[in-house]
Each structure stands twice: as structure tokens, then as C-alpha cells.
């Protein structure tokens, strides 16, 4: 296992804090300095993430490990590391954070505080994806809520305070269940050799115990209960269908860059949590509830798409499309390993979808923000024939809409294809219904393009200006990556495959052990 003596993950997570401190000493009026400092301190983690990516060894398990005893009396460690699941997420987070900071340069009202909160948000997000101790994971998970709450509550739209509180309480409602689940895990962690309680929250040890079938992992009912606790926490974040009602409010009220982060990173934390925690640690529960997940996923796909079709507001349309697209993730992960240990099509489709949805929806929110800044409205019916006026903007928008509806050659297609292949192997009818979602997605995106960009030009917008250089700069990397993954998916899959095969083996071993013992 390669291990850097240099604490590069810690550096990557906490460097924005230095930026926050510098910002605290700047004056509100020094706008240029505020922007530069935040861009630099958000950019360094991106550079580090790329360095990590370049040195990443796909077959090496957890890498860049840092493990320091933190609260010895509780056996809690400061434990970081990255594997094939977290590595792409770290890069995505660093990239989207940096882009969002650039995209926020237009913020003038209380800019200093805005960027301070944004950098803190970045710390929390990176921490979640790098933490390998459940306690640390939980702390980062919660820390992230605070800046998010402020960002929506201060810089949001007309109903910002309502949206901020709703977002906060919903997520917190989930995380308190997670906390109870954590406590239960803590007390049932058993040393395999002696059978004694070891009280640990080390995710790698817990996963190992699940694979070997020690301790808690033998007790059927308890495992199902804890699984459900975690699922509530993660499902709210994803958001899975009945828990999604916070999402449209938060997205519509949040400022553009915050929507990008919400859609691009925060939603992925839910699915990441399932893959990192529920799957390896509670394999029996995962197996038991996999049909349940698949059904919820398909409901999400269809429901999200149908609601999107009915939207009059551009941003709400993109927001509901997220509900639909995250449903694909759930469907993909629910077929994890039904056909033997090496069958990872479903899960890897889920990973592809996490990344590609992050890129595409992030870009869509940025583009919606671009038009909103100029027109001060997002109502689809208010536009018309804009292509003649803003051709570059129109092409970019169309490009990302096509990517989102799964046009072959772009990343959305790869992920949906993998999910359908995986899904069809296990759930023929459900997957059949889910495929309908693609048609619906095409329906609402094409309808939107038609109403906004085609048709009769609405002369009200005759002085609309074209997308500027900074805005193009923010979406370009996303477009390049979308295209790259679409054409050469191996660019992503080489990182994940080994980890996912390992995960799939773990689940099957864990399930077999519990099933063998139970009956």
C-alpha cells in the first residue's frame, strides 16, 4: 500500500481554511482581492487533487492514508484515505468548487462572507469524501450543513430563509438517524480473534468484520434496522423519491454557484455514503433491501421526469431532472452483484452517473444562472428564439441538455447504458419502466430548447448579451470532461473497477456468511 509521508489529503482538505483566515482580514470593499484569494485557495486543492489522481494506483486499495489517534479514550482516529470510489469524487468536488468560486465573481452583496462560507463548504465536502473513520465522516457531513445554510439563507432568492431551514432540518433529520446507527455499530464491533468488544468506528475494520461475519453482522434484525437508519440519512441527501421535497426549494432559492454545488456534490454524498458505508458494512441489509432500492429508484426516475415536464421555471426543471437522474444511480447500485462476483455493471453505471450528473447538471445550473443574470427571469415561456441572439450560449445549453438526456458520445449515455444493462439482468420489468424515463427526459429537455431557443424571437430580449468569457471558462472544463468520458469511458473506469470488484466481493461474502448462518 503506497503511503505518502506528506499529508497531502489533509492539506487538500484544510487549505481553504487559510483562505478563510486571509479573507477575514480583508475589507468588504476589496472585491478584487477577495475574489483572487478565494480562487487561489480553492484552486490549490484542485491542483493537489490532480496530482493525487496522477499518482493513483488503481489496484492499490486505500491510498494516501493518514491515520492519527484523535480521541484515544474512545478509540477514534483521524483517518483519511482514497480509493476508487472516493478518488473521482474528490476530483469532481475540487473541480466544481473551483468553478463555482469563479462563477460567483458576480456576487457583490456581502462578498467577503460569501466566499468565507464557500471555502468552509469546500472543506466539509472534501472531508466527507476522504474520511475513513465514521466519526470523522459524520463531523464533516455535519460541518458542511452550516455554510450551506448561510449560503442559501443570505444570498438566496425570495423564499431563502424558508428554503434554508427546510434544507437544514431535512438533512439533520437524516443525520440524527445516522448518529444512532453509528453508536450501534460502535458497540457491536468485535475483535474476530478474541471475540472481545473493540469499540471502533474505523470503516475499513468494520467492512472487514462484515466480510468475515463477526459481531453485529451476525444479527439479522439489528443489521436491517441499522441499514434502514443509514438509508434514511443517505436517501434524504440523494434525494430518493419520498424524501426529495427539500430539493426543489433549496435549488430554486439558492444562488447559481450554490445550486451547482448542491447538485454536483451534495447529492452525490448520499450515494457515496451508501457505497462507502451501507454496502460494505451492512451487506445483508443491502441485499435484503435491494429490491426496495430499485423500486424507489425507478419511482424517482419516472416521477422526477414527469414533474420536470410540468415545470415553467428553468431552474426548477433542472432541479427535478436531478431527482430523476439520481434515481438511475439507485437503480444501478441495487443490482450490485446478483450474477457473481465480477458483475459490476450496475454499480459502475452508478459511479458513472454520479460523476456525469455532477458535470452535466453543474453546467446546466451555471447556464441557467447566466441567462437569469441577464434576463432576471427564468420562466421558460418568457423566452423564445434566443438562438439568433445568443448562438454560443444556445449551443452550450443544447450540448449539456443532450448530454443529460443521454445522447451517445456524451457521458450521460455511458452511465445510463451501464445502468440499464445491469438493471435488465435482474429487474426486467422495472428496467423496462426506467427506460421510459429516457424518453421523458428527452421530452422535457427538447421542449425546453424549443421554447427558449427556437421559434419566434421575442423582441423583448433584443438587447440580450452573449455569454461572456468568464462564463464560458467555467463551463468549458465540464464540457470537455463530459465529452471525454462519453468517448473514452476507460478514463474513468480504470480508476474504479478494482475497487468496485472488491466491493462486490465483500458484499457477496458478507451476504453468504449471514445467510449461511441464519438459514
Amino acid at each position: 500500500m503506497e503511503s505518502f509521508s506528506f499529508p497531502i489529503l489533509t492539506l487538500m482538505i484544510f487549505i481553504p481554511i487559510i483562505g478563510m483566515l486571509i479573507l477575514a482580514f480583508l475589507k468588504q470593499s476589496q472585491l478584487q482581492a477577495i475574489r483572487t484569494v478565494s480562487a487561489v485557495f480553492s484552486g490549490i486543492p484542485l491542483v493537489l487533487a490532480v496530482v493525487l489522481l496522477a499518482n493513483y494506483d488503481p489496484g492499490g486499495g486505500f491510498q494516501y492514508i493518514e491515520k492519527v489517534s484523535w480521541i484515544p479514550s474512545l478509540n477514534i482516529h483521524y483517518f483519511l484515505g482514497a480509493d476508487g470510489i472516493s478518488m473521482p469524487m474528490l476530483v469532481l468536488t475540487a473541480l466544481l468548487s473551483f468553478i463555482s468560486i469563479i462563477a460567483s465573481f458576480g456576487i457583490v452583496h456581502r462578498a467577503k462572507e460569501y466566499f468565507i462560507f464557500f471555502l468552509l463548504l469546500q472543506v466539509g465536502m472534501m472531508g466527507v469524501f476522504a474520511a475513513l473513520d465514521f466519526f470523522l465522516f459524520y463531523i464533516f457531513w455535519e460541518i458542511m450543513l452550516v455554510p450551506m445554510y448561510f449560503l442559501i439563507g443570505i444570498w438566496g432568492g425570495p423564499r431563502k430563509i424558508y428554503a434554508a431551514i427546510k434544507f437544514f432540518l431535512y438533512t439533520l433529520f437524516g443525520s440524527i438517524f445516522m448518529l444512532v446507527g453509528i453508536l450501534v455499530l460502535y458497540f457491536f464491533a468485535v475483535d474476530p480473534s478474541t471475540g472481545a468488544n473493540i469499540y471502533t468506528l474505523d470503516l475499513t475494520i468494520l467492512a472487514q468484520m462484515a466480510q468475515n461475519g463477526d459481531g453485529l453482522f451476525l444479527r439479522e434484525g439489528l443489521q436491517l434496522m441499522v441499514w434502514m437508519f443509514f438509508f434514511i440519512a443517505f436517501a434524504i441527501k440523494v434525494p430518493v423519491w419520498p424524501f426529495h421535497t427539500w430539493l426543489p426549494d433549496a435549488h430554486v432559492e439558492a444562488p447559481t454557484a450554490v445550486s451547482v454545488i448542491l447538485a454536483g456534490v451534495l447529492l452525490k454524498m448520499g450515494t457515496y455514503g451508501l457505497l462507502r458505508i451501507s454496502f460494505p458494512i451492512l451487506p445483508y441489509g443491502t441485499d435484503y433491501f435491494s429490491n426496495f432500492m430499485a423500486v424507489l429508484g425507478v419511482i424517482g426516475i419516472i416521477y422526477g421526469a414527469l414533474v420536470s415536464m410540468a415545470q415553467k421555471d428553468l431552474k426548477k426543471l433542472v432541479a427535478y431532472s436531478s431527482v430523476s437522474h439520481m434515481g438511475y444511480c439507485l437503480l444501478g447500485m441495487s443490482v450490485f452483484s446478483h450474477f457473481g462476483k465480477e458483475f459490476i455493471v450496475g454499480i459502475s453505471g452508478c459511479m458513472f452517473q454520479m460523476i456525469s450528473h455532477g458535470l452535466i447538471t453543474g453546467a446546466l445550473f451555471l447556464l441557467v444562472g447566466v441567462i437569469y443574470d441577464r434576463a432576471h427571469t427564468r420562466e421558460i415561456a418568457a423566452f423564445g428564439g434566443l438562438w439568433t441572439k445568443v448562438p454560443v450560449y444556445g449551443s452550450l445549453m443544447t450540448f449539456f441538455c443532450m448530454a443529460s438526456l443521454g445522447l451517445p458520445g456524451l457521458s450521460g449515455f455511458i452511465s445510463e447504458f451501464l445502468i440499464f444493462v445491469g438493471g435488465f439482468a435482474r429487474y426486467k420489468i422495472l428496467t423496462g419502466i426506467a427506460v421510459l424515463g429516457v424518453v421523458l427526459t428527452a421530452g422535457y429537455f427538447l421542449r425546453m430548447i424549443q421554447k427558449v431557443f427556437l421559434g419566434q424571437f421575442n423582441i423583448k430580449w433584443s438587447d440580450l448579451t452573449e455569454i461572456n468569457f468568464r462564463e464560458i471558462f467555467t463551463v468549458t472544463p465540464l464540457a470537455i470532461l463530459t465529452l471525454l468520458i462519453g468517448i473514452y469511458p476507460r478514463a474513468l473506469s480504470y480508476m474504479m473497477d478494482d475497487t468496485l470488484i472488491d466491493l462486490s466481493n465483500r458484499i457477496i461474502d458478507g451476504v453468504n456468511i449471514v445467510k449461511g448462518i441464519i438459514g
Binding site: S73, L74, Y138, G153, I154, L172, I176, V180, L183
Partner: protein
């Protein structure tokens, strides 16, 4: 008869160790000294009293520290087993002293602002602290009662120290009448326990063979529980808290919500976990209900408040409910967790009150939510501090409030009993609810525009010292609890 008196006298040994009594001696001595000294001082020299007070508290803290380091695993019974000094009671005393120290720091300027003659204030604080220390070290129910009365009498006066305010008078009278009633219950309960067991000692666990009448013992335990439940503010004995906390001058409210509450819990732990252990199964059920009611009702009532001070009063009820979980768990680890929680609560709650006092100590200001509108913009740094106190009170990582809750919940789940897991789930749901009203302060501070320009806040030295200590405590207790490992490794029993 004469023979037995003689044997009692022969066995009677005071066994006093002045070194381990040093903290009490310092505090009590300084309380007397400041009371005598104060009438002879005039004008600016009266500040001496305040300085002597905080210095003596620091001295007492240092003496606790030196006792702690020189005699680890201290177990000393003094005054014929009526006074017990061990590491657990020492830590409780440290918690009280920290609460009192912070109170002194925030009081000086505020008393001047409110035109309160500050002479008797400091000696009352010291006497109350002395009473609390007696409660934590009580080896006998009578000593416990005396400590409780010393503390309570001081608090009755302190609650009404704002003599010309109607609300303060109401608070003082209400507190006194209801408090006297509760003391009556406590005394009556002690009498019943004596009747049932023939002893008032709480040093040893009562052996079931010693119990003469189980019924009397249960009646006695119930009455003691009512008396102490009143001091803790457990529902349904909480009625006094909102009015007394709101009516009293704010620095006294801060004081009352920290030390005296912790002291009542110290008594609770000793009486119910050590002395009345044989009754565990009966007591557990009652405490479970008490805890569930306390945290839920306190929380629900806090939501509707429009005054930050009153909101904090109700929230302090719900915090008592969380500590009661540790009592229900009935294990050594739970007593540790309860103590840790009380320490966390002391620093974060007084921290929040400190900011409240700063806001109140402006011209034409009060403690309503509207007084906070725009504060976060005018004083961003102070706003962030109050935000951290609030999220800590709400039990949010990585702050003290979270670590305290984590330890209490952990100790409860560790018992493996289903009813406790249910209680923890209830507590966790309650802390979710509490986020709503704690964050309301933050919303008003940062997201609501003030009607007029925000009136300036006065930063006094004492206030800044209190802010530094409470913020340092809130963050350290949450982020790096290991430096408080001695806390985590000390348990009752």
C-alpha cells in the same frame, strides 16, 4: 443505650484533611472576607471585591488541580464520613467554579449598567458556590441538604437583586416559595429514608438487609426525587424556570443555569446511583419518564418564544432532560458522560449568555429576538461566536455540545437496553427540533435587516475574558476531548 452511645463516640473520628478541603476553605473564607470588606470600600476601590472574587475562584481551581495531581485516585472521607472527597466530586467542583468564574467576569460591567449595588453580589456568588461544593462532596443526606440550602438561599436573593424591577421581585418570590416547598419535600424524603434504613449516609450503597421498610424507602426516594427534580428543573417540576430565569438579571440567569443545575445533578447522581442502588429497577422507570418529558416539553415550549433569554430558559429545561439520560443508564460510564455534558453545557451556555448580556447592555435594548437583528453584520466576529455557541447548544459537531451528547448517548446505548435506545432516539429527535429555535437567533443576526442602525456594543475586559474562556472551552471540548481525558476516565462509584 449508654453503651451504644459510647461505641459510637469511640468510632467517631473527624478525620479532617485540610489540604483536600482547601478549595472549600478558599471560597468560604473569601465569601466572608468580601462581605466584611465591602462596606469599608468606597468609589473605585470597590472593584477590589470583584478582583478578589475571581482571584479566589482561580485559586480554588488551582488547589483542585494540585490535589488532583498530587493525589490521584483520592478517596477521602472526612467529618465522620459526612464529607466525601474523591476525584469525581473534585471535577464537579471544578465545573461549578468555572461557571462562577465566568459569571464574575460577565457581571462587573453589567451590574454597573443596571445600577445594581454590587457589594453583596460577589459574596452571594461565592456562598452559593460553596453550597454547591458541599452538595458535590456530601457523604450524608443532611450535608447534602445543608449545601442545597446554602446555595438556594443565595440564589433567592440573587434572583431579586434587581430590587426595583417588578419581574425580579416576582422571580425572587416565586423561586423562594416554590424552592422552599421543594426543600420541604427533600427534607421529608430524607426523613423517610432514615426511617426505612436507619441511616442518612450516602457513602455506601444501602444494603438490602439494612432496609427496614421497602415502602418507606420508596416514598422517601420519590420525595427526594421531587426535591432534586425541582432544582434540576425536570418536568413536571419546571414551572419556576421560565419566570425566574426571565425575571432575574441576565448574569444571574447565566449563573443559575450552569452551576446550581450541575450541583443538583451531582446530588442526583450520588443519591440515586450510589445510595439507592437497590431501588434501581423502580427508579429507572420514573427517571425514564422524567427524562423523556423534560427534554420534549422544554423543547416544544422553547420553539414559540420571542425572547432569547426565555428561549434559553426553556432550552435549559431540555438540556436537563439529556443529562437525565445518564441517570437512567445507571452505569459508571454514564456518570462520567453526565459530568462531561454538564461541563460542556456550562461553558457553551454561559458563552451564549455573555453575548446576550453584551446585546442587552446597550441603550434602550432588551433580550428580544429583534435586538439581534443586524448584529451579525455590524459585529461579524461576535456573530460568528454566538453562532458557534448556538450550534453547540444544538449539539452540532465539532463543538462541545455534540461531544457531550455523543458521550451521554453512547453510555446509554452501551447498556444494551431497548428502553434506553428508545430514549436516545427521542433525545436525538429532540435535538433536531432544538436546531430550529437555536438557528432562529442566527437567522435574525445575519439575515434580518435592523430597523435602525445597530447601536454599538461595549466590549469590557471581563466580558472578553469570559468570551475567550467559553469559546476556547466550547471548541476544545468538542474538537480535542483527549486533553480532558482525566474527565473521561473518572467515574462515580
Amino acid at each position: 443505650m449508654q453503651e451504644s452511645v459510647k461505641t459510637i463516640l469511640e468510632n467517631f473520628s473527624l478525620n479532617i484533611d485540610l489540604v483536600t478541603l482547601m478549595p472549600e476553605i478558599i471560597i468560604c473564607g473569601m465569601a466572608l472576607l468580601t462581605m466584611i470588606l465591602e462596606p469599608f470600600l468606597k468609589g473605585d476601590s470597590r472593584k477590589v471585591v470583584m478582583h478578589l472574587t475571581w482571584l479566589s475562584i482561580v485559586a480554588a481551581l488551582i488547589s483542585i488541580y494540585s490535589i488532583w495531581t498530587s493525589q490521584p485516585n483520592l478517596q477521602s472521607l472526612q467529618f465522620a464520613d459526612a464529607y466525601r472527597i474523591d476525584s469525581y466530586s473534585l471535577l464537579f467542583k471544578a465545573v461549578f467554579l468555572i461557571g462562577s468564574l465566568l459569571t464574575v467576569f460577565i457581571s462587573s460591567n453589567f451590574l454597573k449598567f443596571k445600577n445594581v449595588p454590587d457589594g453583596e453580589f460577589y459574596s452571594l456568588i461565592l456562598f452559593a458556590t460553596f453550597g454547591m461544593m458541599n452538595m458535590a462532596s456530601a457523604g450524608d443526606l443532611i450535608v447534602l441538604f445543608i449545601g442545597l440550602e446554602i446555595m438556594s438561599l443565595c440564589l433567592y436573593v440573587l434572583a431579586g437583586i434587581l430590587r426595583r424591577s417588578v419581574y425580579a421581585n416576582e422571580a425572587s418570590l416565586k423561586y423562594f416559595l416554590m424552592g422552599a416547598f421543594a426543600s420541604g419535600f427533600l427534607m421529608f424524603g430524607i426523613a423517610f429514608i432514615y426511617g426505612a434504613t436507619g441511616t442518612t449516609s450516602i457513602v455506601d450503597v444501602i444494603q438490602s438487609s439494612e432496609i427496614l421498610s421497602n415502602t418507606y424507602l420508596i416514598i422517601g426516594a420519590a420525595m427526594v426525587m421531587i426535591g432534586l427534580g425541582f432544582k434540576v428543573g425536570a418536568v413536571p417540576f419546571h414551572m419556576w424556570i421560565p419566570d425566574v430565569y426571565t425575571g432575574s438579571i441576565t448574569n444571574v440567569t447565566a449563573f443559575m443555569s450552569a452551576g446550581p443545575k450541575a450541583a443538583a445533578f451531582a446530588a442526583f447522581f450520588q443519591v440515586f446511583i450510589v445510595a439507592l442502588r437497590p431501588l434501581q429497577s423502580e427508579i429507572e422507570v420514573v427517571l425514564w419518564i422524567l427524562s423523556a418529558l423534560t427534554m420534549t416539553l422544554g423543547n416544544i415550549l422553547a420553539i414559540t418564544q420571542n425572547d432569547v433569554k426565555r428561549m434559553l430558559a426553556y432550552s435549559s429545561i431540555s438540556h436537563a432532560g439529556y443529562v437525565l439520560i445518564a441517570l437512567v443508564a445507571f452505569t459508571p460510564a454514564a456518570t462520567t458522560a453526565g459530568l462531561y455534558y454538564l461541563l460542556c453545557y456550562t461553558v457553551m451556555n454561559i458563552g451564549a449568555f455573555t453575548v446576550l448580556i453584551m446585546v442587552e447592555a446597550r441603550e434602550n435594548s432588551d433580550t428580544n429576538f429583534s435586538s439581534f437583528a443586524g448584529m451579525g453584520r455590524r459585529y461579524p466576529f461576535l456573530g460568528i461566536l454566538l453562532t458557534i455557541f448556538m450550534i453547540s447548544l444544538a449539539g452540532f459537531p465539532p463543538t462541545a455540545g455534540f461531544m457531550g451528547k455523543f458521550l451521554v448517548f453512547k453510555s446509554a446505548i452501551d447498556t444494551g437496553s431497548t428502553s434506553l435506545i428508545v430514549l436516545v432516539v427521542l433525545a436525538v429527535v429532540n435535538s433536531l427540533v432544538s436546531v430550529y429555535y437555536y438557528l432562529r437567533v442566527v437567522v435574525v443576526m445575519f439575515m434580518v435587516e435592523p430597523e435602525l442602525e445597530y447601536r454599538p456594543i461595549n466590549f469590557a475586559t471581563g466580558i472578553i475574558a469570559a468570551l475567550v474562556i467559553s469559546m476556547g472551552g466550547t471548541l476544545l471540548l468538542g474538537i480535542y476531548p483527549q486533553i480532558f481525558a482525566f474527565f473521561l476516565n473518572t467515574a462515580l462509584i
